[in-house]
Amino acid sequence: MTDWLSPDEWRAVALSLRVSAWAVAASLPFGLLVAYALARWNFWGKQVLNGLVHLPLILPPVVTGYLLLLTFGRRGWLGQALEEWFGIVLAFRWTGAALAAAVMAFPLMVRAMRLAIEAVDPRLEQAAGTLGASRLWVFVTVTLPLILPGIIAGVILAFAKAMGEFGATITFVSNIPGQTQTLPSAIYSFLQVPGGETQAARLAGVAIAIAMAALLVSEWVSRAVARRIAGS
């Protein structure tokens, strides 16, 4: 088992999992908030926020990575502030890779959740209100369970994207084995050297297997939720 991947490769697999999981988990609350705001609220600058969210999709990943480097790098204004005030260093750490993956996956996550929120029947939320639930409680007890399939869809899209993210990550946090070398970076490295294709293919296989497993689990959960709502 352990011998068909080198220790560096194993570390890349583990790192990719960690980076993707954190990227998804940490961006989930923000994604939900932004999706809800875009779906339900009217506020000044809504379209600007909407555009910002989509930005990582529109720009070549390298550009996004470069912007991240300029903003969150050691010399970047936000990067410096984070380091000074909270001691959080993103540059050239796996946390930075997670940030890059989260940013790249954010538009996918938000869109899926937003679609789901827009499909919720507001009359059910009204009913919850008349039963005494405040807006927040309505969200937690009615909206949230009803959009669960959308959340799952958003999470799985984001996870898949995070697993495959490469351009922004390597530009922002480089390709340091064991620290920032994710599966896609490792694959890239192999593709850069003569004869590396087989090894790249092996790693791609690992990535695919992980993503498929996540996909199957998500489908299964989604279906269980849908079946419950459709009545036993």
Partner: protein
């Protein structure tokens, strides 16, 4: 530069067995690495595939005084798809466009990626660029250009000799004269952040005979 992975990994492994120090190498495009170093990457040694990005780092004052050295060189070759393709005589005015016909010439990005820049300069100096220019398919790196020839998508391509060596599906059909393009140089330098002796030791080790053998095995020219 990413294309040095095989050789450099071996050098690093040798160094580790010899000294017990672990070397961490980050392979990425020279431009990305340079920018990262300028933005404060915790790097000790920078090996660039192009002179200009080392210049940038130097301009930023991040190169340790006097450490910059031209570590490796490379040769530019014309490759063709398949085994045993007929050699092409590369000389001023040679009919590259004619050889291509309707097909494409695979190169790296001719204005931005070193291998492409060298290639373009060579073709210009040989006087065939105007005829070939519309036929050039530019990839974002040499390996991708090689892949185009290797799969037969493009019959001919211009890549480094070090890349062409390992691919069974391509044949080197000609080598560009060294004077047809600026010297292909991989500069290396100790960075100002590099403090300890181990950093220096590895930097020295890059120019050792053992390292030279490793690099030479991968098709690089030893400049130092």
């Amino acid at each position: 530069a990413a294309s040095m992975k095989t050789a450099l990994d071996a050098v690093a492994a040798d160094f580790q067995t010899a000294t017990g120090h672990t070397v961490t190498i980050s392979y990425a495009g020279s431009n990305a690495l340079a920018k990262q170093i300028i933005e404060g990457a915790p790097a000790d040694i920078f090996i660039s595939a192009a002179v200009n990005w080392m210049d940038e780092v130097e301009k930023a004052g991040l190169v340790a005084d006097g450490s910059r050295t031209d570590l490796l060189g490379n040769t530019l070759v014309l490759i063709a798809h398949g085994k045993g393709a007929a050699p092409v005589a590369i000389a001023p005015g040679f009919d590259l466009a004619g050889l291509l016909g309707d097909n494409k010439l695979a190169m790296a990005l001719v204005d931005s990626v070193p291998a492409g820049q060298y290639g373009k300069a060579a073709l210009e100096s040989l006087g065939v660029w105007p005829a070939v220019e519309p036929l050039v398919a530019q990839s974002d790196n040499v390996r991708a250009a090689l892949a185009l020839v290797s799969t037969g998508e493009a019959p001919l391509g211009i890549v480094y000799a070090s890349d062409a060596a390992a691919d069974d599906n391509v044949t080197v059909v000609g080598t560009f004269p060294a004077d047809s393009h600026p010297a292909i140089v991989y500069p290396a330098a100790l960075l100002t952040g590099a403090a300890d002796a181990a950093d220096r030791a590895f930097f020295e080790a890059l120019s050792s005979d053992a390292a030279d053998a490793r690099f030479a095995a991968e098709g690089f020219a030893i400049l130092n």
